[in-house]
């Protein structure tokens, strides 16, 4: 009975993930595409939790919620498409997209048949979480700390670039670029 429920939940997440991922490209609005992508990721998070990687699954859902919202808002800002409600195609270069999509799907789907996967029972969730922590702050600490500091500096850079106080004053004040020679007239 328990195994049956687990199987049912797995198929729900698996089919749900694939269907919503497909819908990302078939829908006609950026906001809907972002929501479908989030639903797809949530399904993957559920499958990770079923596999015993509870922490990774939950963190995936946690991170993706904020990420999709930011992505959708930024897309709408750049596309000058109020609220992302105007119908639009989510795919460009259809033939290339179809070939690349089908090719990568087949390549990934063939992996379980060509790779000799290890036959090891999954560890219990709390052990998996502890192992992950040991890995992050033990063996792979240098890698993760380097990546972390790099990302942090990129974030600080993005904040500085986006800040309203530019070199020539506040952005909303309509500031003028100063002259090339110090006591000259402002350009404008």
């Amino acid at each position: 009975m328990n195994g049956l429920i687990t199987d049912g939940v797995f198929w729900l997440f698996a089919v749900g993930s694939v269907v919503t991922a497909f819908r990302v490209f078939r829908t006609d609005s950026m906001m809907r595409a972002a929501f479908f992508l989030l639903a797809s990721f949530a399904g993957v998070g559920g499958i990770l939790a079923l596999l015993g990687a509870e922490f990774l699954g939950m963190v995936l859902i946690l991170m993706m919620a904020g990420e999709m919202l930011v992505m959708a808002i930024v897309m709408v800002m750049f596309m000058m498409n109020p609220a992302g409600l105007n119908p639009m195609w989510m795919v460009h270069q259809h033939r290339v997209a179809v070939v690349a999509g089908a090719g990568s799907f087949l390549a990934l789907a063939s992996l379980p048949f060509v790779v000799d996967l290890p036959d090891r029972p999954a560890p219990r969730p709390e052990e998996a979480t502890a192992e992950l922590g040991t890995e992050l702050l033990g063996g792979s600490m240098l890698v993760f700390q380097t990546a972390g500091v790099t990302l942090l500096s990129a974030m600080i850079g993005a904040v500085v670039i986006a800040h309203r106080n530019g070199r020539f004053g506040e952005a909303e004040q309509g500031s003028l670029e100063p002259a090339l020679e110090p006591p000259g007239e402002e350009k404008g």
Partner: protein
């Protein structure tokens, strides 16, 4: 293996507690309003009012807008209410009375809080209405600002327990409650808790200056479900605050579950009172305070809690 109630029992129990919690919250909110306004309190009317206004909304006509995203509009209150249920399911009533106690309960609760912003954005975006969309954008800014202080404030409570399980976090407060151990934690959590359910001074997405914000196009059952889900989320936030900061089931004389209920109601009173005593904050002010004051304060809280444990 950690504790899990059987699915049927868990769903019914969490649902029943949420409905009861929403009713208690509605009564408490009106009672606090009467006390603050100094009007005379009539108990019968007070107890009947939430049911009456709920019934009125059920009977009202539902309306729609021009070219809405109907699926998203219908899904938003369900998602919000479901997230409240997930969040509440993590709260233990006693050491062995809990709907679900995964090893990562803290992360599950945080993921539910993070998904709330999707529910609210969906609710504001889907009616295809300007004021509702304004409300959605406001909550986007609000949610991205409170996420980090929220996670940090709760993370500090996981340090003494050396576990992400909520039951372990409560268990570690047997001698000292976290509210004493980390004095900055509970105030931070309460500010953020008001923001999560956008209540009182932080009700920016559904604010009156936007004619109701994301609920502007909702009427009848839609409005009732949305308000119910929002109240349910506040109940879940208060219950979790009682568990991780006020020692959950620990307390003298009374049995554990009674203490959890008492502490939850006490936190609810504080959260609800903010709606009657404080003026609404502007979104720019909230974003500024979150990033400049709350995040450093929450970081300091984590560092100090960690240093005390070493």
């Amino acid at each position: 293996m950690r504790d899990y109630a059987s699915p049927g029992v868990a769903i019914v129990a969490v649902g029943a507690i949420l409905v009861a919690g929403v009713y208690v919250l509605a009564v408490l909110d009106r009672l606090l309003g009467m006390i603050v306004a100094g009007t005379s309190i009539r108990l019968g009317a007070l107890l009947a009012e939430p049911v009456q206004s709920g019934a009125l909304l059920v009977l009202q006509e539902r309306r729609t807008t021009e070219r809405p995203d109907a699926a998203g509009w219908a899904l938003a209150p369900a998602l919000f209410g479901g997230l409240a249920a997930v969040a509440l399911a993590m709260v233990p009533l006693d050491r062995d009375i809990v709907a679900a106690d995964p090893a990562t309960g803290f992360v599950v609760f945080s993921a539910a809080i993070a998904m709330v912003m999707i529910a609210i954005y969906l609710h504001g975006w889907s009616p295809n209405s300007a004021f509702a969309l304004h409300g959605a954008y406001r909550y986007g800014a609000q949610a991205l600002s409170f996420q980090i202080p929220f996670l940090l404030a709760m993370l500090a409570t996981a340090l003494p327990a050396e576990s992400l399980s909520i039951v372990d976090i409560v268990d570690a407060q047997k001698s000292v409650w976290n509210v004493v151990r980390e004095p900055a934690g509970l105030p931070l959590y309460l500010v953020v808790g008001v923001a999560v359910s956008f209540w009182g001074p932080l009700n920016l997405p559904d604010a009156a200056d936007l004619a109701g914000g994301t609920v502007v196009e909702d009427s009848g059952l839609d409005r009732l479900l949305w308000k119910g889900a929002r109240a349910a989320m506040l109940v879940a936030v208060a219950a979790m605050g009682a568990a991780v900061f006020l020692g959950g089931w620990w307390g003298p004389w009374l049995p554990g579950p009674a203490w959890v209920v008492l502490k939850t109601v006490a936190l609810l009173v504080v959260l609800l009172a903010s709606g009657h005593l404080l003026a609404r904050v502007r979104i720019e002010q909230f974003v500024f305070v979150s990033w400049v004051l709350l995040i450093p304060l929450a970081l300091l809280n984590v560092f100090v809690s960690g240093a005390l444990l070493l």
